[in-house]
């Protein structure tokens, strides 16, 4: 028989064994299909940085027309949900108990001071425990005051003269919907999960159960073995990606401004890099327990914290930024953010893809050598 025919025979047998193994242990299917879907729904609904209907106590010690007008504007805002408190101390108690996230205090001299053309203070107290949320609330609050002032000015009321005004434009995400950047990042997380964890477990399992010796005794070559371990989980991972993409676009309304071909092509590169990392772990560590631990600690958690999918990398201290360069997910988060929100911008996509391809090659070669070494 010709060598290529032999190769296909070996591969067919080995792939059949892998498929049977996947089918018989439902936990792999759960990890590859059910978990990504569950995660996508969880993140899509559960993770949002957009504060809406923030409960705020308002204390009105002034009842003049400007104060009531201001109050009406507050009530109409979709960001806040106002509750009137009788006095400051009651509002402060609500804040301490967590019933409200902020207090707005209109002091009793507001109308009088505005009438005299003097600046009047509006006091705001915000619960600062969640600093990011507090900052966003501050921003919304200032925005409300500014709009109110410019409206008064247009009506010919000289209460305010904003001198320098800001005209902000947020590109790629006009309404600043956090879901549009969180969901593409989440797809990275799902692919990391399938690629590293599932692949890491499959070889470690063979060692642990002693079936690796049996596999090595067959005419299967190391390359065949590696390919047979990579291929089924590659297909599972890409299927998970496709499924996530459909849910992201149809259910969560995330825009896909780049091309589908680019998305699938670059995802395949990232999938191979993740799988290479998983293979390396499992080839080096033959115990499932430790292999799983390491893939969670060194694969999954960095993909969450050091990839820029939720926390901005450029704002972290320099050593963290440097460490993030060895996390494959970092490059794919950049790719998916750009592909989904901005489009096929090759000057951004290409450098990231080249690094990912380099990582995939490096991990695969290392895994190959690790396996072959043990044979001698």
């Amino acid at each position: 028989m010709s060598p290529s025919k032999l190769f296909f025979m070996r591969m067919r047998g080995m792939l059949r064994k892998e498929m049977l193994q996947i089918r018989r242990d439902p936990s792999s299917i759960a990890l590859a299909v059910v978990l990504p879907m569950a995660l996508l729904f969880l993140f899509g609904y559960g993770v949002s940085l957009d504060a809406e209907n923030v409960p705020v106590a308002v204390v009105m010690d002034d009842n003049g027309p400007p104060a009531r007008d201001l109050m009406a504007r507050f009530l109409g805002s979709r960001y806040f949900h106002f509750r009137q408190a009788a006095c400051v101390s009651e509002a402060q108690q609500w804040l301490a108990e967590g019933q409200v996230d902020g207090i707005v205090h209109l002091q009793d001299n507001l109308t009088a001071r505005l009438a005299q053309g003097r600046p009047a203070q509006v006091q705001a107290i915000i619960n600062g425990v969640d600093a990011n949320r507090a900052r966003l609330i501050q921003g919304y609050f200032q925005g409300l005051l500014q709009t109110w002032q410019s409206q008064r000015m247009m009506q010919g009321d000289a209460v305010a003269r904003p001198m320098v005004g800001l005209a902000p434009r947020i590109w790629f995400n006009e309404a600043a919907v956090s879901r549009n950047f969180l969901v593409p990042g989440l797809i990275t997380l799902i692919m990391t999960l399938i690629g590293i964890l599932l692949t890491a477990l499959v070889i470690a399992r063979e060692w642990e159960r002693g079936t690796m010796e049996a596999l090595l005794a067959t005419p299967l070559r190391r390359f065949d073995l590696l390919l047979a371990k990579v291929l089924p989980y590659f297909i599972l991972g890409m299927a998970g990606m496709g499924l996530s993409l459909v849910v992201a676009v149809t259910l969560f309304g995330v825009p896909l401004r780049g091309s589908i071909v680019a998305l699938f092509g670059l995802s395949a590169v990232f999938m191979l890099a993740s799988q290479g990392f998983g293979l390396l772990i499992s080839a080096a560590i033959r115990v499932q327990f430790v292999a799983a631990q390491i893939s969670i600690m060194a694969g999954f958690l960095p993909a969450f914290f050091l990839s820029g999918l939720l926390f901005d990398l450029e704002s972290t201290p320099l050593p963290i930024q440097m460490a993030s360069h060895i996390v494959p997910a970092r490059y794919f988060v950049a790719i998916s953010h750009t592909l989904f929100m901005a489009g096929d911008l090759w000057p951004v996509l290409l450098p990231n893809t080249i690094i990912l391809a380099g990582m995939a090659t490096f991990f695969m070669v290392m895994a190959y050598r690790k396996i072959s070494k043990r044979l001698e």
Partner: protein
């Protein structure tokens, strides 16, 4: 042999199982410590070093003054000076800068005439949170510039009518590191405890020694205690270590009482041990146990309010998070560290944990016997 004697033997066996293997010993201590430091520094929402470019078409003293007040702010880092509007697309698209400040040609003329002068700010929205926070900072800087300007030009012109005075309670400088690090100990100890306990029964099932354990003269309660203790001990050790680390290393204030901290952590860790044992007794292999604990850990972290506020979730999901032990401990830890809560104040977080511990532990003990057939 009396009960205590038997129990002691069982406990020694359980600890030996975990501690005899140097790799699993390392896994209990090494990675959690690394995570604590890496995530303490990496998981922050504060926006720093925002790279920005400037397009100044006015080139007046006033426009330079405004831009100077921006470049002296430590959150911003100027990377380029543009000369025409056509360059804006490219620099944002290619992520060379995250925002561009565009001062139009009539900026100073408008200001001198008492008309509002608009400054255009173009932000890269690929990370919408950074975009909003950075815009907020710029708003503050422009507000300061306006006030300084009003002070100088006071004659004949009215100063801004409304001045907002803002204060943040519990975290005056709005350090998001305090928010994350105060809850981090709960998160990491949960991962450690879940992995130790979820593997404990599954490992014995896989190697067949669990049946021996069941025919040995132990009551289900004794087996439960023996299986729980390593998890409780290592979990408490990690959680308290990280609480100390939060205060001593990251400088998070500790305003509450030690009693509240220890009590709420203990209740939380016992609950998680129950969950871990539940997962463990439901799985036949170690792989299933690990995947099972992962299936539990992921949603529980997402729905805890650890990284993103529970208040932003839809109402039905917010109600669902009440069943999540991590949510309660994260709230309790933040209240203890930052808001100075004592034991009675965190009781609303403790009693749900106690209730969940009772349910998970008794179900796990019942499953030990009834899953074997």
């Amino acid at each position: 042999m009396n009960s205590l004697h038997r129990l002691a033997a069982l406990i020694v066996k359980e600890f030996t199982l975990i501690l005899k293997d140097p790799k699993s010993r390392f896994v209990i201590i090494g990675p959690p410590l690394i995570q604590f430091f890496v995530f303490g520094y990496a998981a922050v929402y504060d926006v720093k070093h925002v790279r920005y470019a400037v397009l100044d078409q006015d080139r007046s003293a006033l426009s330079r003054e405004l831009l100077a007040s921006l470049s002296s702010a430590e959150s911003f880092e100027r990377v380029a000076q543009l000369t025409s509007t056509t360059q804006i697309d490219r620099i944002i698209d290619h992520q060379k800068a995250r925002l561009v400040i565009h001062v139009g040609p009539h900026f100073s003329r408008n200001l001198m005439n008492g008309e509002p002068a608009l400054v255009q700010v173009i932000v890269d929205g690929r990370n919408s949170n950074v975009a909003l926070i950075a815009l907020g900072y710029i708003g503050d800087i422009v507000g300061g510039f306006n006030q300084a300007l009003a002070g100088r030009m006071a004659s004949g012109r009215s100063a801004p009518g409304l001045v907002s005075v803002e204060r943040a309670w519990f975290n005056a400088n709005l350090e998001s590191q305090w928010f994350i690090v105060s809850g981090l100990g709960g998160l990491i100890s949960m991962v450690v405890v879940m992995i130790i306990t979820s593997l404990s029964v599954a490992r014995e099932r896989e190697s067949g020694t669990f049946d021996q354990l069941l025919v040995a003269p132990f009551t289900p309660a004794e087996i439960l205690i023996g299986k729980s203790l390593p998890g409780v001990l290592f979990g408490m050790l990690d959680a308290l270590l990280f609480a100390a680390g939060a205060v001593l290393w990251f400088g998070v204030p500790f305003r509450g009482t030690i009693a509240a901290l220890v009590a709420s952590l203990a209740c939380f860790i016992i609950t998680i041990v129950g969950v871990g044992l539940l997962v463990s007794s439901l799985s036949r292999t170690m792989q299933q146990a690990l995947l099972g604990s992962f299936v539990y850990i992921m949603p529980s972290v997402v729905l805890s309010g650890f990284t993103t506020p529970v208040a932003n979730m839809p109402g039905w999901l917010q109600a669902g998070t009440l069943l999540n032990p991590l949510r309660h401990i994260v709230v309790a830890l933040r209240r203890i560290f930052l808001q100075g809560a004592d034991l009675p104040t965190v009781w609303p977080q403790i009693w749900p944990l106690l209730l969940m511990a009772c349910v998970t532990l008794t179900t796990a003990a019942w499953l030990f016997r009834h899953r074997t057939q």
